[in-house]
Amino acid sequence: MSPGPQNHSCCSGYTRSQLLRSAAAEAGKGLPAIEPGMPEPAGTGLSRRKFLSRSAGLALAVYGASKIPLSAFETGIAQAAPTDKILISIFFDGGIDSLNVLAPVNDARYQQLRPNLKLAPGAGTAFSEDPSLQWHPAAAALATLHGEGKVSAFPAIGYDHPDQSHFTSRHYYEIGELQVGHRTGWLGRYLDAVGDNENPLQGLSLDGSLSPMIATAEKPVAAIDSVDGYDLWSRVDNPIQSEMFRSFANLGALPADSPAMSQVRRAASQTDKLRQDLDGVGDFSSPVAYPDNRFAHKLAGLAAYIAFGLPMRVVTIRAPGGYDTHADQAGDLEDNLRETCEGILAFQRDLEARGLADRVMIEMWSEFGRRPEENGSLGTDHGAAGCAFVIGSQAKGQMVGEFPGLTKLDPQNNLQATSDFRGMYCSLLEQWLGFDAEAIIPGASGFARPVLVKP
């Protein structure tokens, strides 16, 4: 397959699309207006405005009417104790070439298999935990964080009998099990276990559509297309507007007699809840400079949301670009990897500046690595073991599983895994989220738990 539209940063059309998107975001921004006489939220002793602006200097404003029910938002805020841990999943869509992210540059076999796509020795920073490996120059920002002890690298993660279909392998990673056809994600099951019935922000996808990873059976979760605001524009003003939204929510709460009907009801109901939760949250500022791109902007918004106290537990984002580099790999990989790593570094610095870094852990993954031998199109075909990273101030910062080398490949001539992604999931659940992995990951007892979090 080929990458999706995001990676097509070369053509003017894409730029135009982004402009249109941001125009839509602008169009969706609410006009702040505080009504005189607005009641104080129950239990807080603070007016909404004071409460919200105190938390992070964010100008959270609420539209017009005093009739918008405050319950969902207030419940969520109250639940989000400031010490709650957040797990952020960043996905390299398409199967990133791990042999170029952490490249075995001095390996003669590597130079032989990659006549055109090998990295030159000395081009990037050496990987201190395994001198045979070298960071891609575009991953310099990640190398910096690794140097600070904030990155645990998995140089060859995967599973037995690797599947080379994007969709099958990605599905395994999403559900945390080597099965097909399951409907809940591994983080969705976690949310079903610990989540709240009224808080869709607990599982949040920032890509405009919900990641299957946080698909739940019961609990509400959310997706937003832009961190710059979420509202439902109509030609209806208050007081009729609140009645309209009340009916919208009522339609969402009616019983459903088919799966499709249930989908519409659920979406309507969650949309209305999110509309209330995020009303006016779109304006934020960052204490550090971010690169000027959409991915970095999302992370900047996310940091502000965390600072603001929005009750999130798990968040998913796709890394910019596509990584299914069957042809002309070098340039695409470099641009996309750089954008990703620099965005993450800025995000980490932002969290550190805000004093929030100990609450956040990033897990970065891809559905597989790529074939060690390059193909004839200056690209690489689907492989098996790939790379993953766990990033954060509380990350242990220690490599998990050694790099297996290229002399002994699997029967398909692909890299062999030295760690299992389900072991990584178990450790994140138990060490970071403090939840028993046995209840989430089938067969959890069979997986070794790498130490991923600082003691």
Binding site: F167, T168, W233, R235, F248, S258, A260, L274
Partner: protein, 538 residues
């Protein structure tokens, strides 16, 4: 007709979030073909960009000359089968046996097209089930487009590849105006089946050409279609077929042709070795590149083709690209993949083993033709008696615009459909759109916006137009439903709309609120109907 003038538009704080500047709408008149070669006067709302002078010309001007054969203006029903005698509604035993009334006609038009225009469902029902289905599956001659041609926000005509996103508008327009709706729906299905994205294709026209390939081959032999797609320039670029050469094969197409196009993953239909061998069979296609033309001059070159023996699915030969397609289509697990995949686009739950086996027999018995299977699915009891499906975003939009009688007149549909999860010619990846995940908080918000924009021409302007000060809740609901082309609403939805209308009326306390609040109530009702399951589901 007054010509709109370019002048700065006064800001209007109340609605400053509107994407489009405010407009002064008034009634104008124009000549339109009456369908019998003559012209008749039609009233329509014209949107002035600035306040028109009193007494400005509102049409219709002098009557044009008679035409020999004029096309009707509104999108007509699909062409009825030619010949005077209606097709007798004799159904095979396995077909749906219930009555074929308006409700069933609506469902058929929604699943096999883009919904009815007002009045079309009744006419369609009169054809009987078999006649109605055959009018869709056996169109004669080239498709005709009826009604106003697509335009951008400034009223300029648009071509599919003259600007970013116009390809999307161009196709949406065909969905709205065609007299062969199933051809467009099948093209959409095949665009999802063989999902190709402009993201890795150098020219939009190559995407348009591919969609025309889908249109022309959507009812015929699957193998012919498969072969044509395999060497289609857009596909050759998208899955690197043009870079797959002897000695260093590129597996991209070899894998997806099995996994996604003909056999399916996780069914033990093929091995990794089969993929690698098929990739060798597919070697030899190439193209040239120039910055002006992008990839062009697609051709097969024998010297780039691996002429050696390959073993695919246990069969050994000096296979080429046509053999690779044929071996997939002749694979024992292909017919079941084909019928189940085609079925899934029309019916939400998988077919029973019995139904599936019957479809397989139909497919294989017809020499692996698409139309016979399609016709069996379209007359199946599961389609008419089974549960509803979520409309893909473009299907909902096309259906709404048909119901509202609105042509393509804005580029807003590009980013709104994108936000709703479906920009045509830009599927998310080679597996196409995920029909089980159309709705979440982000895409639902986009559908809400889609409705807001769709209503632009008919929504009462609360503060600039007089609105009834006496309209009752019942009248308000009836008016809103009629504005949407009188779709069937569930009782509980209608009850909620009535409750909303009554609650809104209770909020009127001052006399100045009587009209404006009723106008807003009307807008609220129109909006909620648009985002109700009645319009989102098919």
């Amino acid at each position: 007709m007054a010509i709109p003038q370019e002048k700065p538009v006064a800001a209007r704080p109340k609605q400053s979030r509107r994407k489009r500047p405010r407009a002064w709408k008034d009634k104008h008149f124009r000549w339109v073909p009456d369908g019998q070669g003559d012209w008749k006067i039609e009233g329509y709302f014209f949107r002035h960009k600035h306040k028109p002078k009193k007494g400005h010309s509102r049409g219709p001007g002098p009557k044009p000359a008679r035409q020999a054969a004029a096309a009707p203006t509104a999108a007509p029903p699909p062409a009825a089968p030619s010949g005077p005698a209606p097709i007798p509604d004799v159904r095979p035993p396995s077909a749906y046996q219930g009555s074929f009334g308006t409700a069933q006609a609506v469902r058929l038009l929604e699943r096999a097209g883009f919904g009815p225009v007002p009045g079309q469902a009744e006419q369609f029902a009169s054809l009987g089930l078999i006649g109605a289905v055959q009018s869709l599956t056996r169109p004669s001659g080239p498709a005709q487009l009826h009604g106003p041609a697509p335009r951008d926000d400034d009223g300029n005509p648009l071509a599919p590849s003259d600007a970013w996103g116009h390809d999307h508008l161009w196709w949406l327009d065909r969905m709205i105006r065609t007299n062969q709706p199933l051809v467009e729906r099948m093209a959409l299905i095949l665009h999802d089946w063989f999902a190709t994205s402009n993201g890795n294709v150098s020219k939009t026209q190559q995407m348009i050409d591919q969609s025309n390939l889908f249109r022309s081959r959507c009812f015929g032999s699957f193998l012919d279609l498969f072969k044509a797609v395999t060497v289609d320039p857009a596909m050759l670029q998208w899955l690197n077929g043009n870079e797959n050469r002897k000695g260093s094969p590129n597996e991209n197409y070899g894998r997806e042709m099995m996994e996604l196009f003909s056999l399916g993953a996780d069914r033990d239909a093929y091995t990794e070795d089969d993929i690698r061998e098929a990739a060798r069979a597919l070697t030899g296609w190439r193209s040239d590149w120039s910055s002006e033309l992008g990839a062009h001059n697609f051709r097969f070159e024998l010297k780039r083709h691996d002429t050696g023996n390959k073993t695919v699915f246990g069969q050994t030969g000096a296979w080429g690209w046509e053999d690779a397609c044929r071996l997939c289509v002749e694979h024992p697990l292909h017919p079941s993949f084909f019928v189940e995949k085609l079925w899934s686009y029309f019916v939400p739950a998988p077919p029973s083993d019995e139904v599936r086996d019957e479809l397989i027999a139909t497919y294989v018995g017809s020499g692996r033709q698409i139309r016979p299977v399609l016709e069996s699915i379209l007359i199946s009891p599961e389609l008419f008696e089974g549960p509803p499906m979520v409309k893909p975003p473009v299907v909902q939009l096309a259906s709404m615009l048909r119901a509202l009688g609105r042509p393509i007149d804005t580029e807003a549909w590009i980013y709104i459909c994108d936000a709703a999860g479906q920009q045509l010619f830009w599927p998310p990846n080679v597996s196409g759109w995920d029909d089980t995940r159309w709705l979440d908080t982000s895409t639902m918000r986009a559908r809400w916006l889609m409705v807001t924009y769709a209503l632009e021409e008919i929504a009462p302007d609360t503060w600039n137009e007089a609105y009834s000060t006496t309209e009752t809740p019942e009248e308000a609901v009836a008016k809103a439903i009629a504005s949407w082309g009188s779709p069937a609403l569930r009782d509980e939805h209608r009850a909620e709309l009535l409750a909303l209308a009554a609650r809104s009326e209770n909020l009127i306390v001052a006399s100045w609120q009587k009209g404006p609040y009723r106008a807003m109530r009307q807008n609220a009702l129109l909006q909620l109907i648009g985002v109700s399951p009645d319009l989102i589901l098919q």
